[in-house]
């Protein structure tokens, strides 16, 4: 049975400083949600709480299991071959075969026994994606996974993530500060501001999506307005990243 992500009344406080305040959030099974917000809005903290990396100060969360994370940096163990990095923490028969299959899905079957230091940024990030997928997660957490790859690779990664999401059907929470990325990928955009949900916007655009679509432009306008970004051009605009969240 597939369960959903439920967050109720979640508060996280760091040294008297509330990063998340009485936050409620639901993600349906198989739903792709993008969490958008500027630096310091608490979006990474929310992801870390859902990933079990950060304790909640108060409130209740329920997360389907298994869940898996793709981090902003690939975070591969440099002393393990790519395939062993993907299989990390997994036991039993056929682990290597499963890891190999996951790497094939992300197009890295030719790099199984490479050292992580020899991978390009995009390859390393795809290996990180394979490491998450091999666990067959019901809930996939993506922490700005495309922020550190070049623009072309990012576009290919977007397609890859959508393909894999459609194939495996996990619930997805994508943390990003890139409005276009959120619009291209998500069923729903949740806007976080100062630890609270400022807006919850369903994105009903048909896939595959194009940023040239007029509805796309409209939505982008609306979201950037909500984020308080002054707009002139229609090019891709990212919220400037400053202080780490």
């Amino acid at each position: 049975m597939r369960t959903s992500v439920r967050v109720r009344d979640l508060t996280v406080t760091f040294a008297e400083n509330a990063v998340l305040r009485e936050l409620d959030l639901d993600i349906a099974p198989g739903e792709f949600v993008a969490l958008l917000g500027r630096s310091g809005s608490g979006k990474t903290t929310l992801l870390r709480v859902l990933a079990g990396l950060q304790a909640a100060t108060s409130g209740a969360i329920a997360v389907p299991s298994p869940s898996a994370v793709v981090f902003q940096e690939p975070r591969l163990l440099p002393w393990k071959h790519v395939v062993d990095n993907v299989a990390i923490g997994m036991h039993g028969d056929g682990v290597r075969e499963r890891a190999t299959a996951a790497l094939r899905e992300v197009g890295l079957e030719h790099r199984l026994d490479a050292w992580p230091s020899t991978l390009s940024g995009g390859e390393a990030q795809r290996a990180g994606l394979a490491r998450a997928l091999v666990r067959d997660p019901q809930f996939l957490l993506l922490d700005e996974p495309f922020a550190s790859v070049d623009a072309l690779t990012r576009l290919r990664m977007h397609d890859l993530v959508i393909d894999l999401w459609r194939l495996h059907g996990p619930s997805v929470l994508l943390v990003t500060h890139d409005v276009d990325e959120a619009l291209l990928l998500a069923d729903r955009i949740v806007l976080l501001e100062a630890g609270r949900i400022a807006a919850d916007i369903p994105i009903a655009l048909a896939r595959p999506r194009e940023s040239t679509n007029p509805h796309f432009g409209e939505l982008r306008h609306r979201i950037l307005d909500l984020l308080g970004v002054p707009q002139a051009s229609s090019g891709p605009i990212a919220i400037p990243a400053g202080v780490p969240v």
């Binding site: 079990g52 994370v69 002393w79 923490g89 050292w115």
Partner: protein, 243 residues
Amino acid sequence: MLFVLLWQLGSSSGIIPAAKLAAPTAILSAFWTLAVTGALWSDLIVSVGRVAAGFTIGITLGVTLALVVGLSRPGDFVLDPLLQMFRTLPYLGMTPLLILWFGIGEAPKIALVAFASVFPVYMTLLGGIRAIDPKLIETARVFGLGRWETIREVILPGSLAPALVGVRYALGAAWLSLVVGEQINADRGIGYMIMDARDFLRTDIIVVGLLLYAILGLSTDAIVRQIEARALAWRPKTLGANT
């Protein structure tokens, strides 16, 4: 080569008296005699055995202590200051004390070697553990690694490079302490061979002993370097990284 040639010339012409320093040819023939009679091998085996025993104890202790101190707060608070204190002890000066504690058999020699090899391993491994990217440890947790698995898969491999440098230092210190240990009250081993030769003014045998120490030190270092090359093959190649 030139140096050995000059040395040989000096010895043959009598400028270097054999009682001070034997000629290279005399050293070679002494080496040959000792090797053929077997005296050399039995002493060699005894010395290698002492280093092996002491070094094993030292490394085991060093790794255990570094893990305890590096991975637990109480260990850090209680053990580290204590170990730092011990580390500053001039351990070679402790020989008389070790003799009183362990007698004059194998134990004080092995203890001296162990003492010498603990701290280089402890210091470098601890430094390596503290330098591990906490994000990797967090990642291990996310992907379901338990405490022991994290130590085996992340912490130890991640601190192996500095720890192996420590092992090389430890080996140097181990052989040095063995030299000291064997000069006091040994009835077997290379050190004994040297001390025995001194009593008979056999400078050729003394030099053979010294050379043996040097060869053993170099070969054990070469073994560790081989291990380094294999175990650290994952490291990106840097300019001139051959050692």
